[in-house]
Symmetry: C2
Subunit: 196 residues, 2 copies
C-alpha cells in the first residue's frame, strides 16, 4: 500500500471512530485518546491528521453533508416523482442513513447540540433544499389550497429533526416506520371533511 | 420571613438557576458552583437542598412535567374544542412555555440529551397523551379516512420535538409562528386533490 493510500485509510478510520464517539457520548464528552484508540491509530497519527477535536468534528460534518447531497442527487434522478414524493423519498433515505451510518447520525446530532456552537450549516442546507422543492411544488399546483409552501417546509423540517432526535434516544423510533407514518399524514390530510 | 418560606424560596431560585444553566450550556457542562452563584446562594445551601447535579436535574424535570400537566389541564377545560383543536392548543401553549420558561425548556432539552441517560419520562408522558387524544379522535370520526391515529401521533410528536430542538439552536424558530404553520398543514391536508 503506498503512503497516500495508508494516510487516506487512517483518516477515514479516524472520522468513523470520531463519529461513533460523538454520536454515542455527545461531542463535549468525547476524548481524543478514546477516538484514536477506537480507530486503532496512535495519538501521533491522530494529531498528524487533525489538530483538534473541532477539526475532527468539522470533518465528520463535511462528510455527513456530502452523504446528504448524494441522497438528494440520487432521488432527483429518479423519474416521474411529484415534488412531495421526491421529498418523502429523500427523507426516507436520510432517516435510513441516520439509523445505519454513524457519520451522518453524528453530523446531524452535532448540528442541534447546544454544547457545540457550530455554524448550523448542515441544517440550514437541509431547510433551504426543502423550502426550494416546496416552492416549486406550490408553483406547479401540487399543494392543496390553503397550504403554503412555507408552512409545509416548516412541518417537514420539524418532523425530520424530531424523528432524528427521537431515534437517537429511543430505539423504538429507529425502525423507519415513523417516516412512512409522517408521510401518510402529510400526503393525505388528517381532518375529516365536513359531511364525510 | 419564616424559615420554611426562606428554604422554599432558595429551592426555587436553585431550580431556576439550574434550568437556565442546563438550557444554555447543556447538562454535562453545567457546574454546581456556577449554578449556586447564578442563584445567589452559597454552595452549602445548594448541597443542603440537592445532593448532586443529577438531583437538581430531576427537580427541574419534575417541575417541567408539572407545568406541562397544567397546560394540558387548562386546555382540556376549554369547552367546544375538537380533539385536533385541543392538541393544537396544547402544543401552542407548550411551545410558548418552552420559549419563555427556562425550566420547561431545560426539562424538554435534557430529555433528548445523549449525555444524560435519563428515564425519558417526560417525552414518554407527552407521547402517551398525544396518542390517547388521537385514539379518541379516531374513534369519534375526527380523522380523515386513511389517516391512522398512530401515524398522526407520530407526526405530532416528531414535530413537537423538532420545533423544540430548532428553537434551542436558532432564534428564527422561536416566534411561535412555526406552530401555527405546522397546524395549518395538519388541519388542512397538503396534497392537491385529483382534478382540483
Amino acid at each position: 500500500m503506498v503512503k497516500q493510500e495508508r494516510a487516506a485509510r487512517t483518516r477515514r478510520a479516524l472520522i468513523q471512530a470520531a463519529a461513533e464517539t460523538f454520536a454515542g457520548e455527545g461531542y463535549v464528552l468525547a476524548s481524543l485518546p478514546a477516538i484514536s484508540e477506537r480507530a486503532g491509530v496512535s495519538k501521533g497519527a491522530l494529531h498528524f491528521h487533525f489538530e483538534s477535536k473541532d477539526a475532527l468534528a468539522r470533518a465528520v460534518e463535511d462528510e455527513a453533508a456530502r452523504a446528504v447531497e448524494r441522497i438528494i442527487d440520487s432521488a432527483q434522478r429518479r423519474p416521474g416523482l411529484t415534488r412531495l414524493e421526491l421529498l418523502a423519498d429523500v427523507m426516507r433515505g436520510l432517516m435510513a442513513r441516520i439509523a445505519g451510518d454513524a457519520v451522518v447520525r453524528a453530523g446531524f446530532q452535532m448540528d442541534g447540540d447546544v454544547t457545540r456552537k457550530g455554524s448550523r450549516a448542515f441544517s440550514r442546507r437541509w431547510q433551504a433544499w426543502v423550502g426550494e422543492v416546496l416552492r416549486e411544488a406550490e408553483r406547479d399546483g401540487e399543494l392543496a389550497e390553503g397550504v403554503s409552501s412555507r408552512a409545509m417546509a416548516t412541518t417537514v423540517v420539524a418532523a425530520t429533526v424530531g424523528l432524528r432526535v427521537l431515534a437517537a434516544s429511543d430505539e423504538t423510533w429507529r425502525s423507519g416506520s415513523q417516516v412512512e407514518q409522517v408521510w401518510s399524514v402529510l400526503l393525505s390530510g388528517p381532518v375529516a371533511r365536513q359531511g364525510s
